[in-house]
Amino acid sequence: MNDQNERKGEVIVDFDFDFGTDPKALDISGKVHQLPCTIKFDGPCPVSHYFKPKSTGIEVDGLNLEEAYFRGRKLQGATISLPEGYSGYVLGKKSKASEQCDDSSPWQVKAKFDNITYWNHDTLPSQDDTFQRTFHWLTVAQALHKPVTAEDLASASTALKNLS
């Protein structure tokens, strides 16, 4: 519930640290949750005292099923690793002092994470979940933006010839 816009699919982060002190890349892996609801609140919150995810030991669709309750609703979720080469960051505005002596970016990394637990209300997590599918973009983007090699060109022109 930190620095998040009011969006459906709220991300709640369990922060137990003081933003003022040593913010350098605190690892919050395992503490980042995406919920199937909007919580109209931004700020620190005793998440770990109230939100108690439990592993069920059940595997569905290749995912380890977890269970938790929020506001009386049962949530079923799974923790997924971010793709190789990617990290999640929590950004915060730089303090005025550090901004002056620094480059253009007003942002500062407050914490980072390499996995995220997303929760469904009432449906089992699966590979078809929108959240899982967002990662498809990375593959597509790579294919779109990868430099074209000579072999690529050759095979493309062969394919074109065959078409005509």
Binding site: M1, N5, E6, R7, K8, G9, P36, C37, T38, I39, K40, F41, C45, P46, S48, H49, Y50, F51, K52, Y69, F70, R71, G72, R73, K74, H121, D122, T130, R133, T134, H136, W137, V140
Partner: protein, 297 residues
């Protein structure tokens, strides 16, 4: 939890069972279904054991009677403890299951459990939940070989149901007394009171344990109307699943709403949808994945 390890002989003779519930009304803690069974031939003696409706007995007396019936080899019993988390979540599901259905399922679960232990049940007396006749038909269809008697106040009419009410009530009271609170916040205490919404001790506990973001500890049945009065200054939470309900895949009024929004009438609900990352106006690939382009934040 069950009293029988190896079945006594009398269970192969025709048996009678009573079923009753405790903790249906309270806003916190589990709801407990209890049953008590014995051979039909034992019924007369059972009546002499002075099981009265558990609500009319003092707590110590109930505890005493429960110990008596546990020690009694001519009686069997079983309970089903339904966690408050289960009650809340079923009643707040996308497809909501109401308390009557949960109660019916629990009672039927007990019948199934006792039958599968090998007890020859021929008659079952049940305190009604909802319409007695409809409930009786539901039970009879599920268990065609059993004669069901479903009645209001069955707990004071039939000793076998009175016995079941003691099993249920004592189990519920103990469960609440020994409840392990899942939450680890500071300043939590265990003066739950009876759990009934009108109980001043319960009211105090609810007041002491409300939280602006999390609502209440999971001991509380969030689906109870009573909770709303404590949620006046609570942080608003809106659920995707509720939105689906409102937009109405079912029913005529839902369709109307959908059409209105297509015409471009902006309601507050539409606004809340628009803050969602929707990928609106983008290629289908992005829409399906709710991927939105974010050039600044």
């Amino acid at each position: 939890m069950s009293s029988q390890d190896s079945l006594p002989k009398w269970t192969s003779k025709p048996c009678v069972m009573g079923i009753d519930e405790a903790g249906r009304g309270p806003v916190l803690g589990p709801m407990v279904y209890g049953c008590l069974y014995c051979a039909s031939s034992y019924l007369k003696q059972l009546s002499s054991l002075n099981f009265a409706d558990s609500k009319t007995l003092k707590e110590e007396k109930r505890e005493e009677l429960f110990e008596d019936l546990k020690a009694n080899e001519s009686i069997g019993w079983a309970v089903d403890v339904i966690d408050p988390r289960e009650l809340s979540s079923k009643m707040l599901n996308k497809v909501k299951i109401n308390l009557n259905e949960i109660s019916h399922d629990s009672a039927m679960g007990l019948v199934t459990k006792v039958l599968s232990m090998g007890v020859l049940l021929t008659e079952v007396y049940v305190d009604t939940v909802g319409d007695p006749e409809k409930y009786r038909i539901k039970l009879s269809e599920k268990f065609p070989n059993i004669k069901f008697v479903v009645a209001k106040k069955a707990d004071s009419l039939y000793p076998v149901v009175s016995g079941a009410s003691i099993v249920a009530k004592v189990t519920r009271d103990r469960a609440l007394r020994e409840w392990a609170l899942e939450e680890t916040a500071e300043n939590m205490h265990r003066n739950f009171g009876s759990g009934y919404p009108g109980d001043p001790t319960t009211k105090c506990w609810l007041e002491d344990h409300k939280h602006s973001v999390f609502g209440f500890p999971t001991l509380v049945r969030f689906s109870w109307g009573t909770c709303t009065s404590y949620f006046k200054d609570v942080v608003e939470v809106s659920w995707e699943s509720d939105k689906v309900d409102e937009d109405g895949a079912t029913g005529g009024s839902g369709k109307k709403q959908l059409r209105l929004s297509n015409v471009g009438i902006t309601t507050s609900k539409r606004k809340s949808e628009e803050i969602e990352s929707s990928g609106k106006g983008r290629c289908k690939f992005f829409q399906a994945r709710k991927l939105e382009q974010l050039s600044r934040f």
